[in-house]
């Protein structure tokens, strides 16, 4: 029974990956919206774009890690 609950928990933790996807899409979409208004300023902001994506993605990776721990370590 406990193992089954762990599998349900792993599935719930996978929701976090979807949430991170929303975050990454938000960052990239807003960057594109800004870049199309002022393309000449876009090239200088790619580093900021990647930093933003990295921060948004890290939390999704945390939830993936929780899912893995529930699947294989608990």
């Amino acid at each position: 029974m406990e193992g089954e609950l762990a599998h349900i928990g792993a599935g719930l933790a996978a929701i976090g990956s979807g949430a991170a996807a929303i975050g990454v899409g938000h960052v990239a979409g807003n960057f594109l919206a800004g870049a199309l208004r002022n393309p000449s300023a876009a090239a200088g902001q790619t580093a900021t774009l990647f930093i933003g994506i990295a921060f948004a993605e890290a939390l999704g990776i945390f939830s993936f890690l929780v899912a893995l721990l529930l699947m294989f370590a608990v």
């Binding site: 580093a47 990647f50 930093i51 994506i53 990295a54 993605e57 890290a58 990776i61 945390f62 993936f64 890690l65 893995l68 699947m71 294989f72």
Partner: protein, 250 residues
Amino acid sequence: MADPVDGGGLSFKPLDQFEVKRLFGEGPIEWYTITNVTMWMAIAVACIVLLLVIGTSKRAVVPNRTQSVAETLYGFVYTMVEDVTGKDGIKYFPYIFTLFIFILFSNFLGLLPMSFTTTSHIAVTAILAFAVFFTVTIIGFVKNGAAFLGLFWVSSAPLALRPILAVIEVISYFVRPVSHSIRLAGNLMAGHAVLKVFAGFAQVGLIIAPVAILGVVAIYALEVLVSAIQAYVFTILTCVYLKDALHPSH
């Protein structure tokens, strides 16, 4: 490790590829044991030496292919350090370039079939991230003295908010090495596990197998991109942390 799924002979073991094994003989793994991790790190270092030392040994004015790859990588990281940290960060360029090229080569070598991805282990990336964390903290205190603590005191915020912000800033400062290392290891581990799961779908049957193999190809292409981007992200975050240490005022 969970048991493989016994549904019509279908077996998923996506995490077996990350197992650390002894290369020679039997017995427990000590810190000095030569394992497959040691071997693939050594291969990464050998490839870097081949590219950078042999590639630039002629120092031709018109570079050949190897030399221009080496020069492009060097120039790419040099511009990045200069853009993010400014002129006074340039003297830490060798360290940042070493980090970048080691992670890049480990990621790419891990993509070869039957190879081992050293950067998918948190033990490896945590050492890299904590090295960055301690280096940056020591540089911050040596360069600025007690003024480095100004990093936690947000002087642009209203006075009443500053203690609360200071607590948040301190927590986020100490979480940095954790997220720095887990981001790299997690991305690589997730990607390689997904590759293995798709490869497992190829066992299902003649109709599913071609789709699964196409999926493996597509995800492999994505993984090539992720490998390069994660090396870039690790390096640029190092630059950002270094900039915070050199100029701690908000």
